[in-house]
Amino acid sequence: MPSVPLRVALAAAVILASAVAPQAQDGAERPAWQGHGIKPQSPDSPFDQVVSGLYFRSKETQAMQADDFNNPGFLAVEQGEELWSKLDGAAGKSCASCHNEAAASMKGVAAAYPKWNEKLGKPVNLEQRIDLCRKGAMKAEPWAFGSPELTAMTTYLRNQSRGMPVAVKVDGPMTPWFERGKALYYQRNGQLDLACASCHQSNHGKYLRADFLSQGQSNGFPVYRLRDQRLVPLHERMEGCMQDVRATPFKPLSDEFIALETYVAWRGLGLPVETPAVRN
């Protein structure tokens, strides 16, 4: 049966060819993220250079984010702007009733979140801060996490800090939260037994199957994900990562995710806020 070895040889050749071809293609298409970074602000940073997720995406995605008209994330910015002055709740107030013009009063504010809240004795992130205002001053129904309204308002507020450096504080009462976030970042999870650091620290700039791994920075959130065709808040993205490693995700706005958000923001200290960023 002389035909059998020949068939085996042919099959081997085909496998070899298909193994080589995508690699060559990868090399040509790999985004050039090096050289787009900033020097880490802290000597404890795990990175030589801190690079926004923007530079790990394709040229087309980068172009879409750069053009404010083309960037679909601005639909949420506009929605947030409308909600800013919309009266709601028993107190008959809007955000603007207390905070006036967001362009002035909210400039740089969101870049410093999550932030210590003295009254609650714990840090709150931007979503929680918005709902504290709604429950408190406005006497309105808080918006649910993941609702278009809460995400739009978060996006609008983050957008007021666009271009300004991420400036989260991790000292003082924030220290235990920072440490907890750090522990979570390096803790392996799920069936695949992977920690955040397994991909985003040790392997950024490499392919994980079809996905090009970034440093997992949070400076662009909420981001317009082309996959979801809508704005995705940070905790939903973290949930997604945990599902991908086949772990049971923490709940959005849980203490775990607030600690992790704090720590991840610290890893990106000094990166410009990009909200609304566009990612795949």
Partner: protein
Amino acid sequence: MADVKPRIKLDKKDVAKGGVIEVKTLVSHTMESGQRKDKDGKTIPRKILNTFTCDLNGKMIFSANMEGAVSANPYFQFKIKPAESGTLTFTWTDDDGSKIQATEQIKVS
């Protein structure tokens, strides 16, 4: 969908006769394809913007038909060579028959 405000950008609003205007439009819409299922396994009915038209003084000068594969928040970019001054009317028609509309004034001299 009455509260939807489309984003429209013309690179210029004043052109000489024979001049070209580049039009960019972006509209917010979920574009539910009709292929997805909800948590209970039931098909989510299709609800998309199926037609987009651009009229100049009531006369259609550009149109597009959209199908289920068009992603959410459809974006169009096209060039027009307007014959006269007047009102550009942009219309997106939803599967449920409702329309999203916006207008822009242009001048041809």
